[in-house]
Structure formats: structure tokens, C-alpha cells
């Protein structure tokens, strides 16, 4: 057998009879088999491409075609299946495990069982520990407990009428003016009003002078 390794074929027609391909890449190639020694493909990669069966090899496909159209299509399907599953013993692809008791559906069943158990437990706990909304429902039924708004609707809440608000604002303005402007209180007696900030400064100055004179002593 001719050994071909580490080759890359792009868009070619390749005769594969009697060849061993090792670590080759086939990109959009046509592989032609004529019934000679079957080739082997080890560690190869395929991208797109076609398979062409000619010559003596075409006899097998012809045989299967005729069987298929003659009414034995089920047997032909079985042959195709065996080809796919490696049943003819030529495939190097590992056989898939038998489709029985893989454990997936057991796992899913277990998940469902846990969820159902959780739901049942929650419902049981709801009734075991008491209906937690019951106290509030009972509050609705009790006569001696009324919400505050039932007895004092918002419309009856005291609100400052506009004239009263204006009166209070005027009062505040007049009083603040007394402590923020220079004016005579009693010109005949000589008493004046000064801004309270100036009075604060005078008190601070008094304290500083007292501290300075005490320090000087």
C-alpha cells in the first residue's frame, strides 16, 4: 500500500485505491474508488468533498440500487446502518455504546423527583406551620382594629389656609427685619436696633479683649 502522509489536497480528484493516507487534509476533493484495495484514512481531516464509486466497486452500489427498487429496501437500509455503525468491521470509528440505560433519563427523573418533593414539602410546611397570611386576613375581620385613614380621612387633615400662611410669613419677615437692619427703636432715648450678626461680633470682640487683657496680666 502506498503511504501518503502530511499532504493537503484542495479541490482535486484523487484515486484512493490501495493508498494509506496519514495526517492528510482533503478540502473539497472528489475521492474515487474503483474496487481495488480499500484505502485507509488515519488522522485525516475532511472538509466538503464527494465520494465517487467507479469500476468494479460500482457493481456493489448497482446491486444495492436494484435491491432497493425491487422491494428489499429494508435490507438495503440495514446495510447502510451497518456501514454507519461499523458493523462490517472496516470502520476505524469507535462503535457507539449500546443504547440502553445510559443514565441520562435516570438523572432527569431524579431531578423531577427532587423538585416534586420540594414542592410537596413547601405545601406541607405551609399547613404545618400555619397560614402565614392568616393574621393579616384576621385583621381585616376584626372590628376593634381600624386603619387610621378610616377615622381620619385625608380630606379632613388640617391644612394651612393661604391667609394664615401669609400671616405667618409676614410675622416672620417683620421679626427677622428687626434683627437684620439698623433702625431707631426710640430716637428720643437713643436706643437703636442693629443686625444680630453685629451683636455677635461685638460679643466675640469683648471675649477676645478679655482674654488678651487676662493674658497680659
Amino acid at each position: 500500500m502506498a503511504l501518503i502522509e502530511n499532504e493537503t489536497f484542495r479541490s482535486q480528484v484523487i484515486e484512493v485505491d490501495g493508498k494509506d493516507f496519514d495526517k492528510c487534509g482533503f478540502f473539497n476533493c472528489t475521492l474515487v474508488y474503483r474496487g481495488g484495495k480499500p484505502p485507509t484514512f488515519t488522522r485525516c481531516s475532511f472538509r466538503a468533498g464527494k465520494v465517487q464509486i467507479e469500476g468494479q466497486a460500482a457493481r456493489t452500489t448497482k446491486y444495492l440500487e436494484r435491491l432497493n427498487t425491487s422491494g428489499l429496501s429494508s435490507a438495503v437500509d440495514a446495510v447502510i446502518d451497518r456501514i454507519e455503525t461499523g458493523g462490517f468491521g472496516f470502520s476505524s470509528r469507535p462503535k457507539p455504546p449500546p443504547r440502553m440505560y445510559t443514565g441520562d433519563h435516570y438523572g432527569r427523573l431524579g431531578q423531577y423527583a427532587v423538585v416534586m418533593a420540594g414542592v410537596v414539602f413547601v405545601i406541607m410546611a405551609f399547613f404545618w406551620f400555619g397560614n402565614i397570611t392568616a393574621p393579616y386576613n384576621q385583621l381585616d375581620e376584626r372590628d376593634d382594629v381600624q386603619p387610621f385613614s378610616a377615622e381620619y380621612p385625608l380630606s379632613a387633615m388640617p391644612a394651612l389656609p393661604d391667609e394664615l400662611a401669609d400671616f405667618y410669613d409676614g410675622l416672620r419677615e417683620a421679626q427677622v427685619e428687626q434683627i437684620s437692619t439698623y433702625q431707631w427703636i426710640d430716637e428720643s432715648a437713643g436706643t437703636v436696633q442693629i443686625p444680630v450678626e453685629d451683636a455677635i461680633q461685638m460679643l466675640l470682640d469683648e471675649q477676645n479683649m478679655a482674654v488678651a487683657s487676662a493674658g497680659g496680666d
Binding site: 410675622l171 434683627i179 437692619t181 439698623y182 432715648a189 444680630v196 451683636a199 460679643l203 471675649q207
Partner: protein
């Protein structure tokens, strides 16, 4: 399960009427113990805590005056005192105008000459009427000791702002006074 037994504490033994009898304590709403001491009043400094020196109202503020202290005093005065005493201290606050008891004006001779300790005591103990009822109740539980002195300092400033004569003003202030008058 214990919680569920009393319906999440909706039904529990309690006395609903504050003035009703309590089987355990006598009265449901407990009155203040007459020996209770407000927070901050357990100090060793008689002058600072009680505003007195050997039982006599003090003449001086025991805390050093500063602009920050006056600002705090102004802020607290406007909140706690102005509703009755007015913003300018004449006793014509909003509540007094609306029928609450009218306080004395800070600018009366009596209070202008009063020692600061007396103002401090009014805040701490309240002011009683002749018949024993309280004209002004104590603010000791609501205003801390240092804050009370800040209010007293601000009241002193208010008094000074309304009780000076023109001659007592500095030259600068006299000039400003003349400018504003014009």
C-alpha cells in the same frame, strides 16, 4: 410553632388604654420617675451642667464663644424657641400669637439684666407659673448641655441687638447706621 400558636403576636396580652390599669405595673403608661436624670445632667461641673455657681445663677457662659457656637445657637433657637419667643425675642412668636401662653420678652429690663445662668435654667428646668403649672416645659431631654449654652449665647446677642444706644456703637457701625438711615 410557638409563633404560630399566638398568630404571629397578633393576639397577645397587652393593655390598650395607656391610662388603664396594668395588672403588673399598676398604670399602663408609666410616669417618669421623679429621680430620673436626663441624659448629660450627671456632670461634675456645676457651672456647665446646672448654670449655677454654689447654687447661684452664673453670670458668665462657661463655654468659649465662637462663630460656630453662635451659628449653632441661632439654628437651634429658630427651631426650638422662635415659635413662642419670636425670631427677634420679643415674645411674639407664632404660637403666642395663636393663643399659647405668651412668654416674657427677652428685651425687658428684667431679662436683659438677668444672669446667663437664669436663661440656662429656664431651658433646663422650664418656667413655672405661680400656681405650679408649667408655662414653659423643660427642654433638658431634647437639647444637650453645650447646645443650651449656645442658645443662651445667641439670646444674649439678640438682647444686645435690640438694647444698645447709638453712643455705644463703634464708629464703623455708627457710619453704617447713618448710611442705612439715608
Amino acid at each position: 410553632m410557638l409563633v404560630a400558636a399566638c398568630d404571629n403576636m397578633v393576639d397577645q396580652p397587652r393593655v390598650d388604654d395607656p391610662y388603664g390599669e396594668s395588672p403588673v405595673y399598676g398604670l399602663a403608661a408609666q410616669p417618669l420617675n421623679p429621680e430620673a436624670i436626663p441624659v448629660g445632667m450627671l456632670g461634675d461641673d456645676e457651672h456647665l451642667t446646672f448654670g449655677t455657681i454654689d447654687g447661684v445663677p452664673a453670670e458668665e457662659i462657661p463655654v468659649e464663644l465662637s462663630e460656630a457656637m453662635f451659628a449653632r445657637g441661632e439654628n437651634l433657637y429658630e427651631g426650638f424657641c422662635a415659635p413662642c419667643h419670636g425670631f427677634s425675642g420679643y415674645g411674639n412668636g407664632v404660637l403666642s400669637e395663636e393663643g399659647f401662653s405668651v412668654p416674657a420678652s427677652y428685651h425687658s429690663d428684667e431679662l436683659v439684666d438677668a444672669p446667663v445662668g437664669r436663661l440656662y435654667q429656664a431651658i433646663t428646668n422650664g418656667v413655672a407659673n405661680d400656681d405650679g403649672t408649667m408655662n414653659m416645659f423643660s427642654y433638658a431631654s431634647r437639647i444637650a448641655v453645650e447646645d443650651r449654652w449656645a442658645i443662651v449665647a445667641y439670646i444674649r446677642a439678640l438682647q444686645m441687638s435690640q438694647n444698645l444706644t447709638f453712643d455705644e456703637l463703634s464708629a464703623e457701625m455708627q457710619a453704617e447706621f447713618q448710611d442705612e438711615g439715608e
